[in-house]
Symmetry: C2
Subunit: 411 residues, 2 copies
Amino acid sequence: MDLRRRGTNLPKMGDFNQSVILEAIRRSREGLSRTELVEATGLSAQTITNITRRLLSEGLIEEAGRMIQGPGKPRTTLRLNAASRLSIGVHLDPAMMTFVLLDLTGAVLERSTTRMPADDARRIIAAMAESVEDLIERSQLDRAAITGIGVATPGPLDAARGTVIDPPKLHSWHRVPLRDALQEATGLSVTLEKDTTSAAVAELWTGDHPPDGSFLFVYLGIGIGTALVLDGAVVRGASHNAGEVGHIIVDPEGPECTCGQRGCVEVVCTPQAIVERAEHAGVLADDRVGSDAESVDARFTELCDRAAGGDRDASAVLETAVHHLAVLISALTNMLDIDRVVLGGPFWSRLSAISLSRLPTLLDRSSATRAVRDLPVRGTVIGDDVAAVGAGCVVLDEVLTPRAAALFLDS
Amino acid sequence: MDLRRRGTNLPKMGDFNQSVILEAIRRSREGLSRTELVEATGLSAQTITNITRRLLSEGLIEEAGRMIQGPGKPRTTLRLNAASRLSIGVHLDPAMMTFVLLDLTGAVLERSTTRMPADDARRIIAAMAESVEDLIERSQLDRAAITGIGVATPGPLDAARGTVIDPPKLHSWHRVPLRDALQEATGLSVTLEKDTTSAAVAELWTGDHPPDGSFLFVYLGIGIGTALVLDGAVVRGASHNAGEVGHIIVDPEGPECTCGQRGCVEVVCTPQAIVERAEHAGVLADDRVGSDAESVDARFTELCDRAAGGDRDASAVLETAVHHLAVLISALTNMLDIDRVVLGGPFWSRLSAISLSRLPTLLDRSSATRAVRDLPVRGTVIGDDVAAVGAGCVVLDEVLTPRAAALFLDS
C-alpha cells in the first residue's frame, strides 16, 4: 500500500486542460470562439490555440462558421463534431431493456426497448446484442465511430469480473460474465455501471450543475437506490457499488424485512411495497396474481392515476410513501450536507407531482442545517430513460469529461 | 452560477507539487533524500531540486545529515523543520475544553484541559484565550511561529459567521461570534471546524491511509457524529456540516425522539441514551441527579468498567448499543461503499474492546458488497484528544497537504 500522493506534470496538465476545453465546448451547445474559451477556462490564448488545433486534427471538434461581434476580426466558432464519436447505452431492468444510441454531445439519436426474455442468460445476452445491432443499423451511422457500450444494471455488481452479483428476478445471473459475453457478441468494448450511478452521470451531463457542485440522486426503480455527486464527479465507491440504501430504516412501524430489521426502504418505499400497502388498505383490490415487475408496474400506475384523479385514499398511500422517502433522503442529506437533491428513474415521473409538492417541506423540517441553508429538490431533466442515457454517457465520459484524478502521475 | 470547470496552469501545478513534496517528507518521519523524493512523487529530479531549494529558503524543511547507501555520492536527507510552523488545536466539548500545541509534523508539544465555565459566552472565550496563552508560554516557543488556532466544536456550525448554531448545554451560544471573539482575544487567526471533521483530519494526518483512500470516521462523543474521507480528502459538505447522523433510525423499538421519530441514533446510541437504558434495565441504580455531561460521563465509565469486570448485564447493555451502532454504520457504508471504518472520539476508548470484537461480524452480515469485498474496522490511532489534535492539523493542513482543488485556475 503506497501512502504517498503522486505529483503532476506538463503532459498530465495538457490532457486535463484538453478535456476542460472539450467540456466547455460541449456545454455551450452553440459553440464557443477561442476568445470565449480563454474566458471560460482561465487558460491562456496560446494554450487554447494549441489544444484546439489538436482537437480539430483529431476530428473531435469542428469550425462552425464565423461570428461578427463589434469591431475587429470575426471569430470562428468551435463546436463538437457530434458524429465523430458515438456510444450505446443499455439499461438492464427486470421488466424492460432500453437501448439508446448517443452522439458525442450526449444527444439520443436512436432508441428502442424490448422485453427481457425469460430467465436465461444466453438468450438475454443474444437479445441485447441483437438490439444493439438493430440500433446501429437503423441509425445508418459509421459503426467505427462507436466508442463502446455502457450497460446500466441493478447493483451490487462485481466490477472486476464484469457481472451483476444478484440481480432481482434473474437468479442465474451471478455466474454470468455479462461484460465479457456482450463484448464478444458485439465486438464492442463494454462497461458495466450501476443503474443509479448511470442516472447520476446522465444528470451531470445534461443538467445545469456547477462543475464543483454536489447532489444526491435518488433513483426510483423496481428498487430504490441513490448516487452521490461531489465536486462535480460521481462517487462510485470502493467496489463501484455506492448507493445501496435498501436497508436504511424509514418506518419503525413498517413491515419486517428479509434482513431481520423492520421498516427498511426495501419493504416500505419500493413500488412493490407501495402497491402492497395500497392492497392491504383496500385502496387497490387484493387480487393481484404475481409480484413480478410487470404487474407491480401496472398496479403502481393505477394507484398514481387514481391519486391524480382525486381519489383521496390513493393519495394518502402515496403521501405516506413520500413521507418515508423523505426520512431516507434526510438521513443522507444531513450526513452528506450536499447542495441539492435530484430524483429520477423509471418510476419517478408517476410520483413527481406529489413528491415535488411535499418533499421540500418535509426535508426542510428535518434538515440539520436549516438555520444556514436551504436544500433545493427537483426532478431529473431526463425522462424515464435516464439510466440508459447515463450508461451511454459513461462511455463518452472517457473521451470528454475533465477529472482531477487524471492530473496525478501514475505510480 | 458558472457551470464551467476551470483549467490548470504551471504556477498552480508548482504549488500542488510543492505540497506533494512536503507531504511525502512529513510522512517519511525519518526524512527523504532528493532521489527518494523522485521515486515517491513521480516528479523529475529537476522539479524536486527546484522546489526543495525554495522550501529550504522558506525554512519549512531542513537538511538533516547525509546517508551513505552503496557506492556514489552520499545523499542529503531532507526533513520537516518541525519548529518552523506551529498550530494550536482546541476542542470545545460540553464537559471539557482540551488544548494542544502542535509542531509542523503534527506532534503534540503541549497539552492542557480545563472545565467549561458556566454558560456564559464571555467567560468561556476569556478562559479559552487564557489557556491558549498558558500553552504558548509553557512551550517557550516563538509565538510568531504559530500559524493559527483551530477550534473543534459540535455541529451544526455557521461557517460564514464563525459560530456554533446550537451547541448542546450552551444555549446562548448561537448568538456568539466564537471565531471573531477568540481571534480578537488572542490576536491569532482562528478556524472553526466540526469536531467530527477535525477528528477525521487527525486520523488522515496520523494514520496509514493511502492518499486516494476512503474511510468513514465514526465519532463517539456526547453526541454521535460521522465524517467522510474520500480520495484522501475530508468531505466537509456544502455548509461545512457533513456528518449529522443523530436522526437516522437504528432501533424501531427504541424510545421516541424529539424529532418525532422513534429509535434515532440520538436516543439510542449516545452515552446518555446508553446510560438511561442501563438505568431502566436496573443495571445502574436509577438515582442519577442530573443528565449533565459530567454525570453521564461518570455513569458511562461505571457501566464500561463493570462490563470489563465480567458483569453480564452491563455487557448486554453495551452489546445492544454496539448492535445499534452497527445499524447506523451499515446504512452509511452501504450507501458510500467506502474502504474502511475508523472509530474514535472521547467515548471511544471505553467502548473499543467490545466494539472491535462485535462490529466486524455485524457489519459483514449486513454488507451489500460482502460478495466482492470486506470492510476493515479499526479504532483511531490517536487517543481521546483526537478532535483537538485534528483542529490543530486543520491549521497545518493549509501549509502542507496537497489538495487537487488547488490545481484549478481561479474564476
